[in-house]
Symmetry: C2
Subunit: 205 residues, 2 copies
Protein backbone atom coordinates (compact mmCIF):
# COMPACT_ATOMS: atom_id res chain seq x y z
CA UNK A 1 0.00 0.00 0.00
CA UNK A 2 1.25 3.42 -0.91
CA UNK A 3 0.08 6.66 0.53
CA UNK A 4 0.90 10.31 0.27
CA UNK A 5 -0.43 13.67 -0.75
CA UNK A 6 -0.13 12.69 -4.36
CA UNK A 7 0.07 9.44 -2.61
CA UNK A 8 -0.61 6.01 -3.78
CA UNK A 9 -1.16 2.69 -2.18
CA UNK A 10 0.12 -0.44 -3.81
CA UNK A 11 -0.88 -4.02 -3.26
CA UNK A 12 0.93 -6.79 -4.99
CA UNK A 13 -0.66 -10.04 -5.95
CA UNK A 14 1.76 -12.59 -7.35
CA UNK A 15 1.00 -14.12 -10.74
CA UNK A 16 -0.11 -17.71 -10.84
CA UNK A 17 0.02 -19.85 -13.94
CA UNK A 18 -3.17 -18.48 -15.41
CA UNK A 19 -3.80 -15.34 -13.43
CA UNK A 20 -2.45 -11.87 -13.79
CA UNK A 21 0.10 -10.63 -11.29
CA UNK A 22 -1.07 -7.29 -10.10
CA UNK A 23 0.32 -4.08 -8.69
CA UNK A 24 -2.16 -1.56 -7.35
CA UNK A 25 -1.35 2.11 -6.93
CA UNK A 26 -3.84 3.91 -4.75
CA UNK A 27 -4.07 7.61 -3.99
CA UNK A 28 -5.08 8.57 -0.48
CA UNK A 29 -7.82 11.19 -0.65
CA UNK A 30 -8.17 14.38 1.33
CA UNK A 31 -4.68 14.80 2.74
CA UNK A 32 -4.79 18.44 3.89
CA UNK A 33 -2.32 21.19 2.99
CA UNK A 34 0.80 20.26 4.96
CA UNK A 35 2.45 22.88 7.17
CA UNK A 36 5.79 23.10 9.01
CA UNK A 37 5.76 20.82 12.03
CA UNK A 38 2.86 18.70 10.84
CA UNK A 39 3.02 15.04 11.81
CA UNK A 40 2.96 13.12 8.53
CA UNK A 41 2.48 9.80 10.29
CA UNK A 42 -0.66 11.07 11.99
CA UNK A 43 -1.93 12.58 8.71
CA UNK A 44 -1.39 9.28 6.91
CA UNK A 45 -3.07 7.21 9.60
CA UNK A 46 -6.08 9.53 9.62
CA UNK A 47 -6.34 9.42 5.83
CA UNK A 48 -6.06 5.63 5.80
CA UNK A 49 -8.82 5.37 8.36
CA UNK A 50 -11.09 7.75 6.45
CA UNK A 51 -10.54 5.71 3.30
CA UNK A 52 -11.24 2.45 5.10
CA UNK A 53 -7.77 1.18 4.26
CA UNK A 54 -5.51 -1.00 6.39
CA UNK A 55 -1.75 -1.25 6.04
CA UNK A 56 -0.37 -4.71 5.49
CA UNK A 57 3.12 -6.21 5.49
CA UNK A 58 4.82 -5.52 2.18
CA UNK A 59 2.81 -2.41 1.36
CA UNK A 60 4.83 0.54 0.10
CA UNK A 61 4.03 4.09 1.22
CA UNK A 62 5.04 6.70 -1.35
CA UNK A 63 5.23 10.32 -0.25
CA UNK A 64 5.71 13.34 -2.45
CA UNK A 65 8.91 15.22 -1.58
CA UNK A 66 6.86 18.37 -1.28
CA UNK A 67 4.83 17.29 1.74
CA UNK A 68 7.89 15.87 3.51
CA UNK A 69 9.83 19.09 2.96
CA UNK A 70 6.90 21.19 4.12
CA UNK A 71 6.38 19.11 7.27
CA UNK A 72 10.10 19.34 8.03
CA UNK A 73 10.08 23.11 7.75
CA UNK A 74 12.25 23.34 4.64
CA UNK A 75 10.26 26.26 3.29
CA UNK A 76 12.42 29.40 3.13
CA UNK A 77 11.01 32.90 2.65
CA UNK A 78 13.16 34.50 -0.05
CA UNK A 79 13.10 37.83 1.82
CA UNK A 80 15.30 36.24 4.48
CA UNK A 81 18.04 35.14 2.07
CA UNK A 82 21.19 37.23 1.54
CA UNK A 83 22.83 36.27 -1.74
CA UNK A 84 26.63 36.09 -1.77
CA UNK A 85 28.64 37.79 -4.54
CA UNK A 86 29.09 34.37 -6.19
CA UNK A 87 25.35 33.78 -6.13
CA UNK A 88 24.75 37.24 -7.64
CA UNK A 89 27.21 36.50 -10.42
CA UNK A 90 25.65 33.11 -11.26
CA UNK A 91 22.17 34.61 -11.04
CA UNK A 92 23.09 37.06 -13.79
CA UNK A 93 24.46 34.23 -15.91
CA UNK A 94 21.34 32.10 -15.63
CA UNK A 95 18.89 34.98 -15.29
CA UNK A 96 17.34 33.81 -12.02
CA UNK A 97 16.61 35.34 -8.65
CA UNK A 98 19.95 35.76 -6.75
CA UNK A 99 18.26 34.65 -3.53
CA UNK A 100 17.16 31.41 -5.17
CA UNK A 101 20.69 30.87 -6.51
CA UNK A 102 22.09 31.44 -3.01
CA UNK A 103 19.88 28.61 -1.74
CA UNK A 104 20.88 26.44 -4.70
CA UNK A 105 24.54 26.95 -3.80
CA UNK A 106 23.95 26.19 -0.13
CA UNK A 107 22.27 22.93 -1.12
CA UNK A 108 24.94 21.86 -3.63
CA UNK A 109 28.38 20.37 -3.85
CA UNK A 110 29.15 21.68 -7.30
CA UNK A 111 27.64 23.72 -10.12
CA UNK A 112 27.77 21.65 -13.30
CA UNK A 113 26.00 23.93 -15.80
CA UNK A 114 24.88 27.52 -15.67
CA UNK A 115 23.24 29.08 -18.69
CA UNK A 116 20.35 31.40 -19.35
CA UNK A 117 17.36 29.80 -17.61
CA UNK A 118 19.29 26.72 -16.49
CA UNK A 119 21.37 25.85 -13.45
CA UNK A 120 22.32 22.20 -12.95
CA UNK A 121 24.17 21.14 -9.80
CA UNK A 122 25.26 18.13 -7.90
CA UNK A 123 23.06 18.27 -4.83
CA UNK A 124 24.63 17.58 -1.43
CA UNK A 125 22.62 14.31 -1.42
CA UNK A 126 24.38 13.25 -4.64
CA UNK A 127 21.61 13.89 -7.15
CA UNK A 128 22.46 15.80 -10.31
CA UNK A 129 19.49 18.07 -10.79
CA UNK A 130 18.23 21.45 -11.94
CA UNK A 131 17.92 24.14 -9.23
CA UNK A 132 19.14 21.69 -6.55
CA UNK A 133 15.61 20.32 -6.49
CA UNK A 134 14.35 23.59 -5.04
CA UNK A 135 10.70 24.02 -5.75
CA UNK A 136 8.84 27.29 -6.10
CA UNK A 137 5.44 26.02 -7.22
CA UNK A 138 2.61 26.07 -4.71
CA UNK A 139 4.94 27.20 -1.94
CA UNK A 140 4.16 30.74 -0.86
CA UNK A 141 4.69 31.72 2.72
CA UNK A 142 2.57 34.49 4.25
CA UNK A 143 1.93 35.78 0.77
CA UNK A 144 5.64 36.32 -0.01
CA UNK A 145 7.88 34.39 -2.37
CA UNK A 146 9.29 31.23 -0.91
CA UNK A 147 11.37 28.24 -1.91
CA UNK A 148 11.08 24.67 -0.74
CA UNK A 149 14.32 22.72 -0.23
CA UNK A 150 14.67 18.94 -0.30
CA UNK A 151 14.41 17.16 3.08
CA UNK A 152 17.67 17.26 5.04
CA UNK A 153 18.02 13.47 5.08
CA UNK A 154 15.30 11.73 3.03
CA UNK A 155 16.46 8.20 3.93
CA UNK A 156 16.27 9.06 7.62
CA UNK A 157 12.83 10.60 7.14
CA UNK A 158 11.66 7.37 5.52
CA UNK A 159 13.18 5.22 8.25
CA UNK A 160 11.52 7.25 11.00
CA UNK A 161 8.13 7.15 9.33
CA UNK A 162 8.48 3.42 8.73
CA UNK A 163 9.20 2.78 12.41
CA UNK A 164 6.29 4.91 13.52
CA UNK A 165 3.87 3.27 11.09
CA UNK A 166 4.96 -0.11 12.35
CA UNK A 167 4.39 0.94 15.94
CA UNK A 168 0.96 2.29 15.11
CA UNK A 169 -0.29 -0.47 12.83
CA UNK A 170 1.97 -3.48 13.29
CA UNK A 171 2.55 -3.58 9.52
CA UNK A 172 6.05 -3.95 8.09
CA UNK A 173 5.86 -1.46 5.21
CA UNK A 174 8.44 0.23 3.01
CA UNK A 175 8.50 4.01 2.69
CA UNK A 176 9.64 6.05 -0.30
CA UNK A 177 9.96 9.78 -0.87
CA UNK A 178 9.70 10.61 -4.54
CA UNK A 179 10.49 13.72 -6.52
CA UNK A 180 9.94 14.66 -10.16
CA UNK A 181 13.21 14.75 -12.08
CA UNK A 182 13.79 15.92 -15.60
CA UNK A 183 15.67 13.72 -18.00
CA UNK A 184 18.57 14.85 -20.11
CA UNK A 185 17.63 15.12 -23.82
CA UNK A 186 13.98 14.41 -23.15
CA UNK A 187 10.69 16.10 -22.48
CA UNK A 188 8.69 15.16 -19.44
CA UNK A 189 9.73 14.11 -15.97
CA UNK A 190 9.91 10.84 -14.09
CA UNK A 191 9.22 10.09 -10.46
CA UNK A 192 12.50 9.25 -8.75
CA UNK A 193 12.90 7.94 -5.20
CA UNK A 194 15.14 10.35 -3.28
CA UNK A 195 14.65 8.48 0.00
CA UNK A 196 13.88 4.87 0.84
CA UNK A 197 13.48 2.59 3.84
CA UNK A 198 12.41 -1.03 3.98
CA UNK A 199 13.17 -2.02 0.40
CA UNK A 200 16.07 -1.97 -2.04
CA UNK A 201 16.42 1.19 -4.09
CA UNK A 202 17.76 -0.75 -7.07
CA UNK A 203 17.03 -4.31 -8.10
CA UNK A 204 19.58 -6.29 -10.10
CA UNK A 205 17.56 -8.21 -12.69
CA UNK B 1 -5.87 -2.76 -18.80
CA UNK B 2 -2.31 -3.28 -19.85
CA UNK B 3 -0.89 -6.37 -21.40
CA UNK B 4 2.41 -7.53 -22.77
CA UNK B 5 5.14 -10.09 -22.38
CA UNK B 6 6.36 -8.31 -19.32
CA UNK B 7 2.95 -6.96 -19.75
CA UNK B 8 0.68 -5.28 -17.39
CA UNK B 9 -2.94 -4.40 -17.32
CA UNK B 10 -4.14 -1.21 -15.76
CA UNK B 11 -7.57 -0.28 -14.56
CA UNK B 12 -8.25 3.15 -13.29
CA UNK B 13 -10.82 3.91 -10.67
CA UNK B 14 -11.31 7.62 -10.05
CA UNK B 15 -10.98 8.89 -6.49
CA UNK B 16 -14.10 10.01 -4.72
CA UNK B 17 -14.10 12.22 -1.68
CA UNK B 18 -13.35 9.42 0.72
CA UNK B 19 -12.12 6.62 -1.48
CA UNK B 20 -8.74 5.94 -2.98
CA UNK B 21 -8.23 6.53 -6.67
CA UNK B 22 -6.62 3.43 -8.04
CA UNK B 23 -4.37 2.37 -10.90
CA UNK B 24 -3.91 -1.35 -11.45
CA UNK B 25 -0.97 -2.79 -13.33
CA UNK B 26 -1.52 -6.38 -14.33
CA UNK B 27 0.92 -8.76 -15.98
CA UNK B 28 -0.51 -11.15 -18.54
CA UNK B 29 0.74 -14.65 -17.78
CA UNK B 30 2.10 -17.23 -20.18
CA UNK B 31 2.81 -15.15 -23.27
CA UNK B 32 5.02 -17.51 -25.26
CA UNK B 33 8.46 -16.74 -26.69
CA UNK B 34 7.72 -14.38 -29.57
CA UNK B 35 9.15 -15.17 -33.03
CA UNK B 36 9.43 -13.20 -36.29
CA UNK B 37 6.04 -12.96 -37.96
CA UNK B 38 4.05 -13.76 -34.82
CA UNK B 39 0.71 -12.00 -34.53
CA UNK B 40 0.91 -9.99 -31.30
CA UNK B 41 -2.78 -9.16 -31.41
CA UNK B 42 -3.69 -12.83 -31.52
CA UNK B 43 -1.19 -13.62 -28.73
CA UNK B 44 -2.67 -10.89 -26.54
CA UNK B 45 -6.26 -11.95 -27.14
CA UNK B 46 -5.41 -15.56 -26.30
CA UNK B 47 -3.59 -14.53 -23.14
CA UNK B 48 -6.45 -12.28 -22.06
CA UNK B 49 -8.90 -15.11 -22.57
CA UNK B 50 -6.76 -17.59 -20.61
CA UNK B 51 -6.52 -15.09 -17.77
CA UNK B 52 -10.26 -14.48 -17.79
CA UNK B 53 -9.68 -10.79 -18.55
CA UNK B 54 -11.78 -8.52 -20.73
CA UNK B 55 -10.57 -5.31 -22.34
CA UNK B 56 -12.57 -2.21 -21.53
CA UNK B 57 -12.62 1.33 -22.88
CA UNK B 58 -9.78 3.33 -21.37
CA UNK B 59 -7.56 0.35 -20.66
CA UNK B 60 -3.93 0.76 -21.64
CA UNK B 61 -2.00 -2.10 -23.22
CA UNK B 62 1.74 -1.89 -22.54
CA UNK B 63 4.06 -4.00 -24.66
CA UNK B 64 7.75 -4.54 -24.11
CA UNK B 65 9.81 -3.29 -27.06
CA UNK B 66 11.45 -6.66 -27.21
CA UNK B 67 8.37 -8.62 -28.20
CA UNK B 68 7.31 -6.02 -30.76
CA UNK B 69 10.76 -6.02 -32.35
CA UNK B 70 10.85 -9.81 -32.40
CA UNK B 71 7.39 -10.09 -33.97
CA UNK B 72 8.37 -7.51 -36.60
CA UNK B 73 11.49 -9.44 -37.57
CA UNK B 74 14.00 -6.87 -36.27
CA UNK B 75 16.36 -9.60 -35.08
CA UNK B 76 19.61 -9.52 -37.06
CA UNK B 77 22.15 -12.34 -37.05
CA UNK B 78 25.53 -10.65 -36.54
CA UNK B 79 27.14 -13.07 -39.04
CA UNK B 80 25.21 -11.31 -41.79
CA UNK B 81 26.50 -7.80 -40.97
CA UNK B 82 29.44 -6.26 -42.86
CA UNK B 83 30.94 -3.44 -40.82
CA UNK B 84 32.04 -0.33 -42.72
CA UNK B 85 35.49 1.19 -42.12
CA UNK B 86 33.82 3.88 -39.98
CA UNK B 87 32.10 1.23 -37.88
CA UNK B 88 35.41 -0.62 -37.46
CA UNK B 89 37.09 2.57 -36.32
CA UNK B 90 34.37 3.40 -33.78
CA UNK B 91 34.29 -0.21 -32.59
CA UNK B 92 37.97 0.07 -31.67
CA UNK B 93 37.31 3.32 -29.81
CA UNK B 94 34.48 1.90 -27.73
CA UNK B 95 35.75 -1.66 -27.61
CA UNK B 96 32.63 -3.26 -29.01
CA UNK B 97 31.81 -5.70 -31.79
CA UNK B 98 32.23 -3.89 -35.17
CA UNK B 99 29.13 -5.64 -36.49
CA UNK B 100 27.08 -4.27 -33.61
CA UNK B 101 28.50 -0.79 -34.23
CA UNK B 102 27.57 -1.07 -37.91
CA UNK B 103 23.97 -1.72 -36.87
CA UNK B 104 24.13 1.15 -34.38
CA UNK B 105 25.24 3.50 -37.16
CA UNK B 106 22.53 2.29 -39.51
CA UNK B 107 19.95 3.00 -36.82
CA UNK B 108 21.28 6.45 -35.91
CA UNK B 109 21.35 10.04 -37.08
CA UNK B 110 24.43 11.02 -35.15
CA UNK B 111 27.04 9.62 -32.77
CA UNK B 112 27.12 11.82 -29.66
CA UNK B 113 29.64 9.98 -27.48
CA UNK B 114 32.05 7.15 -28.11
CA UNK B 115 34.34 5.95 -25.35
CA UNK B 116 35.54 2.64 -24.05
CA UNK B 117 32.40 0.60 -23.35
CA UNK B 118 30.03 3.41 -24.28
CA UNK B 119 28.42 4.57 -27.51
CA UNK B 120 25.60 7.10 -27.26
CA UNK B 121 23.72 8.14 -30.38
CA UNK B 122 20.68 10.02 -31.51
CA UNK B 123 18.48 7.26 -32.84
CA UNK B 124 16.66 7.82 -36.15
CA UNK B 125 13.45 7.95 -34.07
CA UNK B 126 14.87 10.89 -32.10
CA UNK B 127 15.79 9.16 -28.86
CA UNK B 128 19.23 9.80 -27.41
CA UNK B 129 20.30 6.41 -26.18
CA UNK B 130 23.16 3.97 -25.69
CA UNK B 131 23.76 1.47 -28.50
CA UNK B 132 20.83 2.88 -30.50
CA UNK B 133 18.56 0.80 -28.26
CA UNK B 134 19.96 -2.37 -29.77
CA UNK B 135 19.48 -5.26 -27.44
CA UNK B 136 21.64 -8.37 -27.21
CA UNK B 137 20.13 -10.03 -24.17
CA UNK B 138 17.93 -13.07 -24.69
CA UNK B 139 18.10 -12.67 -28.45
CA UNK B 140 20.05 -15.50 -30.01
CA UNK B 141 19.13 -16.76 -33.44
CA UNK B 142 19.82 -20.36 -34.41
CA UNK B 143 22.45 -20.45 -31.70
CA UNK B 144 24.46 -17.56 -33.22
CA UNK B 145 24.92 -14.06 -31.91
CA UNK B 146 22.14 -11.70 -32.82
CA UNK B 147 21.01 -8.15 -32.17
CA UNK B 148 17.49 -6.85 -31.83
CA UNK B 149 16.74 -3.42 -33.30
CA UNK B 150 13.92 -1.12 -32.25
CA UNK B 151 10.67 -1.42 -34.22
CA UNK B 152 10.76 0.49 -37.53
CA UNK B 153 7.88 2.77 -36.54
CA UNK B 154 6.70 2.19 -32.95
CA UNK B 155 3.83 4.70 -33.16
CA UNK B 156 2.52 2.95 -36.26
CA UNK B 157 2.86 -0.44 -34.56
CA UNK B 158 0.80 0.86 -31.64
CA UNK B 159 -1.84 2.35 -33.94
CA UNK B 160 -2.22 -0.88 -35.89
CA UNK B 161 -2.52 -2.98 -32.76
CA UNK B 162 -5.01 -0.54 -31.31
CA UNK B 163 -7.22 -0.78 -34.39
CA UNK B 164 -7.07 -4.54 -34.42
CA UNK B 165 -7.86 -4.84 -30.71
CA UNK B 166 -10.83 -2.56 -31.21
CA UNK B 167 -12.09 -4.69 -34.09
CA UNK B 168 -11.69 -7.85 -32.06
CA UNK B 169 -13.07 -6.67 -28.73
CA UNK B 170 -14.96 -3.43 -29.32
CA UNK B 171 -12.85 -1.77 -26.62
CA UNK B 172 -11.26 1.63 -27.19
CA UNK B 173 -7.87 1.05 -25.61
CA UNK B 174 -4.54 2.87 -25.75
CA UNK B 175 -1.38 1.03 -26.71
CA UNK B 176 2.17 1.77 -25.58
CA UNK B 177 5.50 0.21 -26.47
CA UNK B 178 8.00 0.70 -23.68
CA UNK B 179 11.73 0.29 -23.49
CA UNK B 180 14.21 0.47 -20.62
CA UNK B 181 16.34 3.59 -20.84
CA UNK B 182 19.30 4.53 -18.70
CA UNK B 183 19.45 7.93 -17.12
CA UNK B 184 22.39 10.27 -17.31
CA UNK B 185 24.25 10.53 -13.98
CA UNK B 186 22.15 7.82 -12.37
CA UNK B 187 22.06 4.14 -11.69
CA UNK B 188 19.06 2.11 -12.76
CA UNK B 189 16.75 2.42 -15.72
CA UNK B 190 13.25 3.71 -16.28
CA UNK B 191 10.53 2.44 -18.57
CA UNK B 192 10.04 4.94 -21.37
CA UNK B 193 7.28 4.85 -23.99
CA UNK B 194 8.88 4.73 -27.44
CA UNK B 195 5.53 4.33 -29.19
CA UNK B 196 2.01 5.38 -28.33
CA UNK B 197 -1.48 5.34 -29.79
CA UNK B 198 -4.76 6.39 -28.19
CA UNK B 199 -3.40 8.62 -25.46
CA UNK B 200 -1.14 11.64 -25.06
CA UNK B 201 2.55 10.86 -24.60
CA UNK B 202 3.03 13.89 -22.35
CA UNK B 203 0.54 15.54 -20.04
CA UNK B 204 0.85 19.20 -19.17
CA UNK B 205 0.07 19.46 -15.47
Amino acid sequence: MRAGLHGETAMQRPATEDHCGELRLRALPRIPEVRPGDDLCALLLAALQRAGETLRDGDVIVLAQKIVSKAEGRLVALDTVQPSPHARHLALECDKDPRLIELVLQESREVLRCRRGVIVVEHRLGFVMANAGIDQSNVRQDGGEAALLLPLDPDASCATLRTRLRSATGADVAVLIIDSHGRAWRNGTVGVAIGVAGMQALHDL
